[in-house]
């Protein structure tokens, strides 16, 4: 299986007056062609930052301080801005949380989609416009031929997110980075958008990195899931494995804290405390102050990701560590 995206020990840091903050700490994972990989974690875990690093849109003063990002066998983390701009849109499509801020309010949606197509593909404006209409139709926008000349404010939230999906997929990218694509939407619209994203990516064979805090969305969309905590990867595995038999205590807590409509429990599992600030990440395992299974070793030594069956987890609880 060929990997479209490969991230190796990626670190991102923010130099501040009070010292350098490590926002991402040696994050590694890969996404194969046609695969949907979910990235979950609570606010501040570094999910969106990973996405921003991949598409080369880190907000200064944030910078990649170590590691590599490979897209189809080509290293992209050190490319000059000009070249990165050609890759964005052509090879990596991006979908953001708020559909209103990712569209230009001064241009019609048709113009924006056609512009992307003309920039990246060898088509004329007329051909691009026709392709834009096809794309809008494929995303389920009724009367696409008329709607193409409308401005973003004339669309509702769900319809706007459809336009953004059409825009992200306009140049048939190899990889789509979707950062909380349904968080701003109501549940009934959420289902429609997730279904659409899945369908469109499957048809185009695009790999998807789906960043969300909603385990439910991951459960029904993703093939594999990366659980992040305090800028590190806690666990990687098949969605089913991580949901039903999580290996890392943080994943265990995370799954238990989600209320379910299929069972009635008196109390939810709670993880005491909260995510550490970047200025005060504990030594050893970042999760140790909140961990119910904490051992002396966890406070001193940082665990590496270890293969455990089909999953990988970074936790000293698993004795596979010793064998290796």
């Amino acid at each position: 299986m060929s990997n479209i995206l490969e991230i190796k020990e990626l670190s991102v840091e923010f130099p501040t007056r009070r010292g350098t903050l490590k926002a991402l700490n040696e994050v590694s994972f890969s996404i194969a062609a046609g695969e949907v990989v979910g990235v979950v974690g609570e606010s501040g875990a570094g999910k969106s930052l990973t996405g921003a690093a991949i598409i080369g849109l880190l907000e200064p003063p944030g910078r990649i301080s170590g590691g590599q990002i490979w897209l189809e066998g080509r290293r992209i983390d050190q490319l000059p801005d000009e070249e990165m701009r050609r890759i964005r849109g052509r090879e990596i499509g991006a979908i953001f949380q708020d559909p209103l801020t990712s569209l230009n309010p001064l241009y019609t949606v048709g113009h924006q989609i056609a512009e992307t197509i003309v920039t990246h593909l060898p088509l004329t404006w007329t051909q691009a416009r026709n392709r834009a209409i096809e794309l809008l139709e494929a995303t389920g926008i009724p009367a696409a031929r008329e709607r193409i000349d409308h401005y973003p404010h004339q669309f509702s939230g769900g319809m706007r997110q459809r336009v953004v999906i059409a825009l992200a997929l306009a140049a048939q990218p190899k990889l789509v980075v979707a950062d909380e694509p349904t968080t701003a939407l109501d549940v009934s619209i959420q289902a429609q958008i997730i279904e659409l994203l899945k369908k469109m990516c499957r048809e185009q064979g695009a790999a998807v990195m789906l960043i969300t805090h909603d385990m439910g969305v991951i459960a029904e969309t993703a093939d594999r899931v990366v659980v992040m905590y305090a800028g590190r990867v806690a666990e990687i595995g098949k969605v089913r494995d991580v949901i039903h038999s999580p290996r890392h205590p943080y994943s265990v807590g995370l799954m238990g804290s989600i209320p379910s409509i299929h069972q009635q429990v008196e109390r939810l599992v709670q993880i005491d405390g909260s995510m550490p600030r970047l200025t005060a990440i504990p030594t050893g395992c970042a999760f140790n102050p909140r961990c119910p299974n904490v051992m002396d070793r966890c406070r001193v030594e940082r665990p590496e990701l270890q293969q455990l069956g089909t999953s990988q987890a970074a936790c000293w609880l698993h004795p596979a560590q010793e064998v290796a």
Partner: protein, 334 residues
Amino acid sequence: MTTQRALVEVKDAARWFDVSAPWLERVLSRKPRTLLRAVDGVSFTIRKGETLALVGESGCGKSTIARLLVGLYPLTQGSILFDGQPLSNMQGRGGLALRKRLQMIFQDPYASLNPRWRVGRIIAEPILAHTTLTPEEREARVDALLIQVGLHPSDKTRFPHQFSGGQRQRISIARALAVNPEFLVCDEPTSALDVSVQAQVLNIMKDLQRNLGLTYLFISHNLAVVHHVADRVGVMYLGRIVEIADRDTLFADPKHPYTRMLLSAIPDMTGQGSSRTPVAGEVPNPLNPPSGCTFHPRCPFARDLCKLESPSTQVFKGVEIACHGVVQGWPMQV
């Protein structure tokens, strides 16, 4: 624990907002006044000691109901009785005693606490307004409240920005509990929080309800959270309640097509990779709601009657429901 006595009775409550264009523009371009019917004829009761949850999508009027219940908005029509007394009395003499018995927890813990006040002063404010405790007794009460919500008495000298979202929401809960209210209106208390922190706050709220015999109105858009906390659930759509039922009845056997649609839109956590049943359409513009039953443009079972006549709320098999099809027994299988 739950008794039959109704603590809160809402009868045909309505709240309309005037969202007309400015006067000059209206006169020049001959526009009529426009009314937004945020809540339009809602009736329900909440029994002492129970949790009633209201669910619905954005713009359906959930938060407006919360604000009506604590008197932050006046009613346009209808009445709300709290323990037999009309809430409209809240402004007049004796209103203070009534207001003390109901408190509210807001959605955004970053906006609902004064950033310039220390936590101790924030929690003591309602005590100062409603009781005649001495300063020492007040301090002791603040300490006890902080412990009750899982914080430390020494936290009272700190400012809100020194706390995380979940801790701030606990401070909001402590403030709401300061005057020993009987009824708490919780407007999306956990939707700004991460899941692990949401679990902490939900657990505290359940413990407090058990220990203090509180009655909750719990507003949320998250059905899984509602399933966890509620005894009864009301489903809202465009300013009306379309179905109210016991939690187990509602989740096991939803009757209204909109409720069924909402339930099928919940993500499936079993990890089977099975997808939700996507539903067509979106919530219409509340400024220009559809005729008859407002759900009819999205309803797969709508008939001509639904376009003409708005269904009234009726009791059907123990469930209060507003739907022509369910009450008349139309075949409603997909």
